[in-house]
């Protein structure tokens, strides 16, 4: 068994820092909903685990934090090591039994789906009911 550090990041602050970084380097700002969707997809592809970046905050372990930094660097052209260091707050360590546990741990399930989430609204209206016929 080993201790696994957990880092919390406020998503609103991360989006703001990302766009500030891009702006400082002469790049265009990106919408928060787009950053969140893109991060969710890229993170899932890179780590084999989905995290909902539309929540108010996310909690990541060391490996996931590095993955996030790499994604921001490669796909958003933003080298964010210093900003992320300033943004994360460390949570109490959790004990993990194996590498498999780490891989399947799902911090996304603990993402806070209130606050920012309500402000990040998608375009798609998905309904489960039977589609209506035209009038």
């Amino acid at each position: 068994m080993n201790d696994q550090s957990i880092y919390a990041i406020n998503m609103g602050a991360l989006f703001e820092a990302l766009n500030a970084n891009r702006k400082n380097n002469g790049f265009l700002e990106i919408d928060n909903p787009l950053i969140a969707s893109k991060l969710g997809i890229l993170f899932a592809l890179k780590t084999n685990g989905y995290i909902n970046f539309k929540g108010e905050r996310v909690e990541l372990n060391d490996t996931q934090l590095i993955a996030l930094q790499e994604i921001l660097d490669q796909h958003f052209n933003a080298e964010m090591t210093h900003e992320i260091r300033a943004l994360v707050t460390m949570q109490a360590p959790v004990q993990q039994n194996s590498a498999a546990d780490k891989r399947h741990r799902s911090p996304s399930s603990r993402a806070d789906n209130t606050g920012l989430f309500t402000k990040i609204k998608g375009f798609l209206k998905i309904k489960s009911k039977i589609q209506e016929e035209p009038a």
Partner: protein, 400 residues
């Protein structure tokens, strides 16, 4: 060898809302859409067997191979590359080609670090030459031209466009179909289309680029978009990406397209000369822009309902996404599947009822982020009917 000036313009046949060149549907799209869509496709880099770089290149290789089977010569294909706005292809020696100017080499980088971006051009050359081609230099990385090496590796690209699906010919006239609400408008769609057809929307003789309405356009292969979009969508879905995030990326591409292309068209001198004089209300502007869309080769758009307080409904007959889907894949049960049309129609409503494009707003990227795409006062969209799911037409409802 520069063959741009040695051939006549290709013949364009317009039928059922499609513009066919060499029998293949072509659609006008801008650099903003192309850049965003390519970025979305490339997000799947490093994903098991899914290879987005090959997808971006080989999807056009297959189409060029089809054109060759239909009798296209190498010079005709090179000429068409320029005519359709992809740039100027020049052969430097037996194994090297370059594009001094190119759509994908100049206007395609979005968000990520600058990297070689001319997958389309590599794939096009592969089809022309029947050999594997890879990009060795790209203007996006700071070089003077894009360069391509012709390799001896065998080329093995399969044709995915094997299913038969005919375009619908019995498309109802505007405002003349069951369920259509009554409209009172002076907007004359046929006059608008006839006027826009006279614009020189083909590659400039010097650059091979189509610069119009303040954007850079391409007269692109509809089924290129279809294949790269749906293959990426399926790959992301199979990787467990939630449907909402997955579709959002593609719908956003259409929304960006609406902002940049529709917005710039509605700000253009051509619009103010031809369309604006027919318009008294916002509703007229929507009818006017729908008329322009019906010139772009995207299918035949028909407005069913405008209720600014409640909802907007648009049908699309022969939507290029629906038709393309049926030509590449088995029928689906998913009705929310015509992503470009969803984003474009939503963006059109946003252009008039979220912002007001009639105020001749400056369409900057900052304005897109801060106003146009701001969640405040946004509408949402739902597709209720889909050609891809066996319906007669695509149908979209935009609501608050």
């Amino acid at each position: 060898m520069n063959v741009h000036d040695t051939h006549k313009p290709p013949q364009v046949i317009t039928t059922g809302g499609h513009n066919l060149i060499g029998g293949l549907s072509r659609v006008f799209h801008c650099n903003h859409y192309n850049a965003y869509l390519q970025m979305t496709v490339l997000m799947t880099q490093g994903m098991g067997n899914h290879n987005p770089e090959r997808l971006l290149a080989e999807s056009v290789t297959a189409l060029i191979q089809l054109l060759k089977q239909r009798g296209y010569s190498e010079p005709a294909l090179l000429h068409e590359f320029s005519y359709c706005g992809f740039g100027q292809l020049q052969q430097l020696d037996d194994n090297t080609w370059e594009t001094p100017r190119s759509h994908y080499g100049e206007a395609i980088c979005t968000h990520a670090k600058p990297s070689k971006s001319c997958y389309f051009t590599s794939g096009y050359l592969q089809g022309v030459l029947g050999k594997t081609v890879c990009e060795t230099e790209c203007k996006i990385e700071g070089t003077h031209t894009d360069k391509f090496a012709v390799l001896e590796e065998p080329l093995n690209v399969e044709n995915d466009f094997t299913r038969e699906f005919e375009l619908q010919t019995a498309i109802p006239e505007r405002f003349a179909f069951d369920g259509c609400h009554k409209f009172d408008t002076r907007v004359d769609e046929q006059t608008i289309i006839a006027n826009f057809k006279t614009l020189p929307l083909h590659g400039n003789e010097e650059s091979g680029l189509i610069e119009a309405f303040g954007a850079v356009l391409t007269n692109h292969f509809a089924d290129y978009y279809n294949r790269i979009s749906y293959e990426t969508y399926f790959a992301l879905r199979d990787a467990g990406i939630p449907e909402e995030d997955n579709k959002e990326m593609f719908i956003q591409a259409g929304h960006i397209c609406a902002f940049n292309t529709f917005g710039r068209i509605m700000n253009s001198p051509e619009w103010y000369e031809v369309v604006a004089p027919m318009c008294d209300t916002k509703e007229d502007w929507l009818h006017g822009m729908i008329a322009v869309i019906n010139f772009l080769g995207w299918g035949m758009y028909r407005v069913e309902k405008i209720d600014a307080e409640k909802e907007f409904i648009v049908r699309v007959y022969n939507s290029y996404e629906g038709v393309g889907y049926r030509r590449i894949y088995p029928m689906t049960t998913d009705k929310n599947i015509s992503f470009l049309a969803m984003g474009a129609i939503l963006g059109l409503v946003h252009s008039l009822w979220k912002i007001d494009i009639r105020d001749k707003l400056e369409l900057t990227p900052e304005f897109y982020v801060e106003q146009f795409n701001n969640p405040e006062n946004s509408y949402i969209i739902e597709q209720t009917h889909a050609i891809a799911a066996g319906d007669e037409y695509d149908r979209f409802i935009v609501s608050k």
